[in-house]
C-alpha cells in the first residue's frame, strides 16, 4: 500500500556530495530552529529586544555558511517539509511540530521562506522581525517603501484556489514525464561534460510515479509518448517516451510493477551511451566514417559502464545496465547465433525503435506510427524478438 506524499520538484539536490548535504542539513536545521524562536518571540517582544540577539546570530551564521557552501541561501517551509537550498532538512518529531506553527505564522503573511544572496546584517534582520510582528501580507522585499538590502522573502505565489485544487492525474503525469525528460537529458549532458549520471535512485522515484500513473490512466500514458522534440531536446524526450512505452508494454503484458519499474528505468537510461558520441556525429545527416562508426558501436558498452559506475549489483541495477547494452543488439535468428538478451533489453529495443522512427531526425522525417510498425516488421525485423514485436502492435493500437 502506498501513501507517500512525495511530489516532484521538491526535495534536495541528491547529486551533491555527502559532505555538502550534511552541511546543508546542519545549517538548515540551525536556521529553521532559529527562525522558529524568532517567530515565537516576535509575538511578545519588540524587535529591539535582546531576546532576538542569539537566534538572529544563529540564523545569520547559517546564511553565511550556506552561502559559502552553495553560493546562495534559501530556507523554505512548505507543507510538512523544511528545505535549505532545496534540500529536505530532516527533523525530529518535536521540531517538526514546532515548525508547523512557524509555517502557519509565515503562511498567514503569504511567506514560505527566506532567501539571501550575501551576508545580511543583524540590523536588517531586526527590521524583518518588526515586519513579521504584524499580521499583514508582505511582499518579497518586505516593505516596498524600505526594502531589505540582502534578504528576500519567498512568497507563496499560488492563489488560494490553486493551493486547494488537487493535481489531476494528467498533470501529475506531465510533471513526472517532464522530470524523466530532464533526468535523461541531464545525465547525457553531464556525462558529456565528464560528470556523473543524474542520481539513479532519484530517477527510480520518477519511474515509480510513472508506473503508478500508468495504472490510473493507461491511455493518457500511451498518448504522452507522442510528445516529441528535436535538436538536443530530442534525447530527453526520446528516453522518457521509451520509458513510458516500455511501462505501458509491461502493463499490458501483465508484468508485476517490480518488472514494470525495471522496464521504465531501462527505457529512461537506455541511451546514456550517446554521451560518448560528439553532437556532430549524433546529428550527422550523411554516412558515418569508420571512426564514427566505431564510436557508435561501442556506445552501448559506454552506457553499461556508466550505469555500473555506482557498483550496485542488485537485480534492478543489473537490469538497466544490461538493457542499455542489449537493446542495441540484433536478435537475428537466421544467423543461428542469437545473443542472450533479457526481457528489458528486448522490450526497450522495440519501444526505442518505435519512438525513434516516429520522431523527426536530422537525416529523415518522422514516420506515422503505422508506417513505423511496418518498417519494424520488415526492414528491422531481425533486430527484435518477433513474439514481443507482435504483442507490441496490440499495445500501441490506440496510437495507430
Amino acid at each position: 500500500m502506498t501513501d507517500d506524499r512525495e511530489d516532484l520538484g521538491s526535495g534536495f539536490d541528491a547529486s551533491a556530495s555527502q559532505a555538502t548535504r550534511a552541511r546543508r542539513q546542519e545549517l538548515g536545521q540551525r536556521a529553521a530552529m532559529a527562525l522558529q524562536v524568532i517567530m515565537r518571540n516576535a509575538k511578545n517582544y519588540d524587535e529591539r529586544n535582546a531576546v532576538f540577539a542569539a537566534p538572529i546570530q544563529a540564523f545569520l551564521s547559517a546564511i553565511d555558511g550556506l552561502i559559502a557552501t552553495d553560493g546562495a541561501f534559501e530556507l523554505r517551509l512548505d507543507g510538512d517539509a523544511v528545505r535549505a537550498n532545496r534540500q529536505i532538512i530532516k527533523l525530529d518529531a518535536i521540531s517538526r511540530q514546532v515548525l508547523e506553527a512557524t509555517h502557519a505564522d509565515l503562511g498567514a503573511r503569504g511567506v514560505v521562506g527566506l532567501r539571501a544572496v550575501a551576508s545580511a546584517s543583524e540590523h536588517e534582520f531586526r527590521a524583518l522581525v518588526g515586519l513579521l510582528r504584524g499580521s499583514r501580507r508582505l511582499t518579497n522585499v518586505g516593505d516596498p517603501a524600505s526594502p531589505f538590502p540582502m534578504l528576500e522573502l519567498v512568497m507563496d505565489e499560488r492563489s488560494d484556489e490553486e493551493r486547494r485544487a488537487p493535481v489531476s492525474v494528467h498533470e501529475e503525469m506531465v510533471r513526472a514525464y517532464a522530470a524523466g525528460v530532464l533526468f535523461a537529458a541531464r545525465t547525457i549532458g553531464q556525462l558529456r561534460d565528464g560528470g556523473e549520471v543524474a542520481p539513479i535512485w532519484a530517477a527510480g522515484r520518477v519511474v515509480r510515479q510513472l508506473v503508478d500513473l500508468q495504472g490510473r490512466a493507461p491511455l493518457a500514458m500511451l498518448e504522452m509518448s507522442r510528445t516529441k522534440a528535436d535538436g538536443e531536446a530530442y534525447w530527453g524526450h526520446h528516453a522518457a517516451n521509451v520509458a513510458v512505452l516500455a511501462i505501458s508494454f509491461g502493463a499490458r503484458l501483465g508484468l508485476k510493477k517490480r518488472r514494470r519499474h525495471d522496464l521504465g528505468m531501462s527505457g529512461l537510461f537506455h541511451d546514456v551511451g550517446m554521451a560518448a558520441l560528439p553532437p556532430a556525429v549524433l546529428g550527422k545527416p550523411g554516412a558515418l566514417d569508420d571512426r564514427e562508426r566505431y564510436a557508435v558501436d561501442v556506445n552501448p558498452l559506454f552506457a553499461a559502464r556508466v550505469l555500473l559506475r555506482d557498483r550496485e549489483v542488485h537485480p534492478a541495477a543489473l537490469e538497466r545496465a544490461l538493457a542499455a547494452y542489449e537493446c542495441h543488439l540484433r536478435l537475428d535468428a537466421t544467423t543461428g547465433d542469437t545473443p542472450d538478451v533479457g526481457l528489458c533489453g528486448r522490450v526497450v529495443a522495440i519501444c526505442e525503435a518505435f519512438d525513434a522512427l516516429t520522431s523527426a531526425r536530422p537525416y529523415r522525417a518522422a514516420l506515422a506510427p503505422q508506417a513505423a510498425v511496418s518498417v519494424m516488421y520488415t526492414e528491422m525485423a531481425n533486430k527484435f524478438d518477433t513474439q514481443l514485436l507482435g504483442l507490441f502492435s496490440s499495445v500501441i493500437e490506440p496510437l495507430l
Binding site: D3, I94, A178
Partner: protein, 554 residues
C-alpha cells in the same frame, strides 16, 4: 490508533519487534527461521491492531515514535532499520488490521539495511522503492520527497518546456478521444496468459548475473572502461559474490572461463585485482563448498579460480583447508599453496610438521612439483609430524627426492614403535642403492628382536635390502639362503629365513642373484622342497626380467 490507547502496550509490542529484528539481523542467513523469530512480535502487534485499529508510528533516524514517545530505539548508524528507512525518506508507518506475519516479515527484510556478509556486501535499492515494489497490503507508509529534479533555473526552464509539450499532447489526445477509451483500456486484460508470460519473462537470477559478468568483461576488453575501471572491477567482484551466495556453479564456471581467456592487458586490469578479492577466506571456503557439490566446477572451475589467486594467498589457503572435507579439493588447495611457497615458506614448513594430518598429507603430496632439494628438505620436516600416516608419506617422499638426507633421517624410523612406519622406512631405504643404506637395514635385521617381528615386516626388510642391489646386502642374502642351519635353530625357522632371502634376491634381480637362485632351486642341494620351489619361481621371474632388459637394451 484511537486516542487513549495505552502507549505502554504499543511499546511492549515494539519492544518485541525490536528484539525480533535484532535476532533476524544477527542471523540473516537463516531465512527459514525468520518467521519463527518474528512470531511473538507479530502476535503482540496483531492483537494490538485487532483490538485498537491501525497503528501509526513516526520514523526517526534512531527510533520509531508513537505519540511522540520512542517505542523502538536503535543506534543511528548504517546497520539500523530506522536509519535506513529515515535516510530513504520514509517518515511514517501504519500497520493496518489484516496484517499477516508474511507481510511483517517482508517489511522487516526490506527495512533491514544491507549488510556485510561472508561474501561481501550485497547492494540494495533504497527502502522506499523496495517498499513500493513489495506492495504490502497492510503496511502503509508516508514518505517525504527526497530529491530535486530541477537544480538550476535552466533546469526549471527545461522541465517547464517538456511539461508544456506533454500537456499539449495530452490536451490534443483528450480532445480527440474523449473520456471513454481510457476506461476501456483500463478494463482490458493482459495480452498474454500467465504461462506465456513466464516464457516471455522467465526467472532471471543466475542468468542475469552471468550476462552482467560478461558485460563487464566486454567493456574492459573493448577498452571502454576508462576511469570507471575500478568501479567495474568492484561490480564484477560483487557479481561473483552473488554467484557464490546463490551457489550458481554454471555462472561461476562460465565467468572463470571467460576470465581465463582475457587478453594480456585485461589480465592486469581485471584478473589480478579480482584474484586478490577472491583470495578472501569466506570466498575461498564458499567456492570449495560449491566444488564439493559440482563436479564441473571442481574439475574446470577450481584450477581457474586457484590460478587467479595472488602470490601471498598461502596463509589463507591453509586456513581454508581446515574447513575442507573433500580430499581432492584439499589437494588442489595444497598444490596452489605449494606453487606459491616462496610467499609462505615458514608457514608451509610449520604446517608440514604440525597441521592436522589430512592437511599435512595434502601439503606433502603437493611438493612433487617443487625443486628437488626443497622437496627432500620439506619431506624431512614432515617426518617430525606426530601422525604416523604423515610420517609414512614423508618417508617415501624423502627417499625419492633426497637420498643423503633420507640416509641421515631414516635410521630411527627403522625402530619406530609403529610397524607400518618401520616398514615404510625400510621401503624408503630400499630405493637407495647405497652401502650405507644397506648397513642401516642390516643393523636392524641383525638385531635379535627383528626375529620376533611379523613376517610381513621381515619380508619388507629383505625386499628392501635386495632392492638396494648392494654388495653387502647381496652378501647377507646369499649367506642366509645358502648357509647350514645354525645350531639350535628350528628347521622350519631356517626354511623361513631362506624364503625371506629368496624374496630379497628376487628384488635384487641381478644376474648374480639369478645364479644363486638357480643354485638353490637345484634339488641336489638338499634344500627343503618349499625353498627349492620358491627359488625356482624367483629365478624364473628374475630371468624374465633380465631378458626383458636385454631385449630393451638391444
Amino acid at each position: 490508533m484511537r486516542a487513549g490507547q495505552p502507549a505502554a502496550e504499543v511499546a511492549r509490542a515494539f519492544e518485541a519487534l525490536g528484539r525480533a529484528i535484532k535476532r533476524i539481523a544477527n542471523y540473516r542467513h537463516q531465512r527459514d527461521k525468520h518467521a519463527e523469530y518474528l512470531a511473538l512480535a507479530y502476535s503482540e502487534l496483531h492483537e494490538l491492531i485487532v483490538r485498537q485499529g491501525a497503528l501509526t508510528v513516526e520514523v526517526e533516524p534512531a527510533a520509531l515514535l508513537f505519540d511522540g514517545e520512542p517505542v523502538l530505539t536503535e543506534p543511528a548508524r548504517d546497520g539500523s532499520m530506522c536509519f535506513r528507512l529515515h535516510r530513504d525518506g520514509v517518515r511514517r508507518l501504519t500497520f493496518l488490521p489484516g496484517l499477516t506475519v508474511e507481510e511483517l516479515l517482508a517489511f522487516t527484510r526490506i527495512a533491514l539495511p544491507e549488510i556485510q556478509d561472508d561474501h561481501g556486501p550485497p547492494t540494495r535499492e533504497d527502502a522506499l522503492i523496495e517498499l513500493w515494489k513489495a506492495d504490502l497490503s497492510h503496511v502503509a507508509y508516508e514518505a517525504v520527497a527526497a530529491f530535486e529534479v530541477a537544480q538550476t533555473e535552466a533546469d526549471e526552464l527545461a522541465v517547464e518546456a517538456a511539461a508544456l509539450l506533454a500537456r499539449e499532447t495530452l490536451r490534443a489526445a483528450a480532445e480527440k478521444l474523449g473520456p471513454g477509451p481510457e476506461e476501456a483500456l483500463l478494463a482490458k486484460r493482459p495480452i498474454v496468459g500467465a504461462s506465456d508470460l513466464e516464457a516471455i519473462d522467465p526467472p532471471e537470477g543466475p542468468r542475469r548475473l552471468q550476462r552482467a559478468a560478461f558485460l563487464v568483461l566486454r567493456v574492459v576488453e573493448r577498452r571502454v572502461a576508462g576511469r570507471d575501471l575500478d568501479s567495474l572491477r568492484e561490480s564484477l567482484g560483487r557479481i561473483i559474490d552473488e554467484m557464490l551466495r546463490l551457489g550458481d556453479a554454471p555462472g561461476l564456471l562460465a565467468t572463470l572461463d571467460r576470465l581465463g581467456a582475457l587478453g594480456d592487458e585485461a589480465v592486469t586490469e581485471i584478473r589480478v585485482p579480482l584474484g586478490k578479492r577472491l583470495s578472501a577466506l569466506p570466498r575461498l571456503t564458499r567456492f570449495a563448498a560449491l566444488c564439493d557439490a559440482s563436479i564441473d566446477l571442481f574439475v574446470f572451475g577450481l584450477p581457474a579460480y586457484l590460478k587467479m589467486l595472488p602470490f601471498d594467498v598461502g596463509p589463507t589457503l591453509l586456513e581454508a583447508m581446515a574447513a575442507i572435507e573433500a580430499k581432492g579439493i584439499r589437494a588442489a588447495f595444497a598444490s596452489a599453496m605449494a606453487v606459491r611457497i616462496e610467499g609462505c615458506r615458514a608457514l608451509y614448513e610449520e604446517a608440514l610438521r604440525t597441521a592436522p594430518a589430512p592437511i599435512s598429507q595434502a601439503l606433502l603430496s603437493a611438493i612433487d612439483g617443487l625443486d628437488f632439494g626443497l622437496r627432500g628438505f620439506l619431506a624431512a620436516l614432515a617426518l617430525q609430524h606426530a601422525d604416523p600416516s604423515v610420517q609414512l608419506e614423508a618417508l617415501q617422499k624423502l627417499a625419492a627426492s633426497d637420498p643423503q638426507t633420507a640416509l641421515a633421517q631414516l635410521g630411527p624410523f627403522l625402530v619406530h614403535r609403529e610397524p607400518d612406519v618401520r616398514i615404510a622406512a625400510a621401503q624408503a631405504l630400499g630405493r637407495l642403492p647405497m652401502e650405507e643404506a644397506a648397513s642401516l637395514l642390516l643393523g636392524r635385521m641383525r638385531a635379535l628382536e627383528f626375529g620376533l617381528a611379523e613376517r610381513v615386516e621381515r619380508e619388507a626388510f629383505h625386499v628392501a635390502l635386495g632392492g638396494q642391489k648392494t654388495a653387502v646386502g647381496f652378501g647377507f642374502l646369499s649367506e642366509r639362503l645358502t648357509h647350514s642351519p645354525r645350531a639350535g635353530l628350528l628347521k622350519s625357522r631356517h626354511s623361513e629365513e631362506q624364503l625371506l632371502a629368496i624374496r630379497g634376491l628376487a628384488a635384487d634381480g641381478s644376474a648374480r642373484a639369478l645364479r644363486l637362485l638357480e643354485y638353490a632351486a637345484d634339488v641336489h642341494q638338499g634344500n627343503p622342497a618349499v625353498v627349492a620351489s620358491a627359488a625356482r619361481a624367483a629365478a624364473n621371474h628374475v630371468r624374465e626380467l633380465l631378458q626383458r632388459v636385454l631385449v630393451g637394451g638391444e
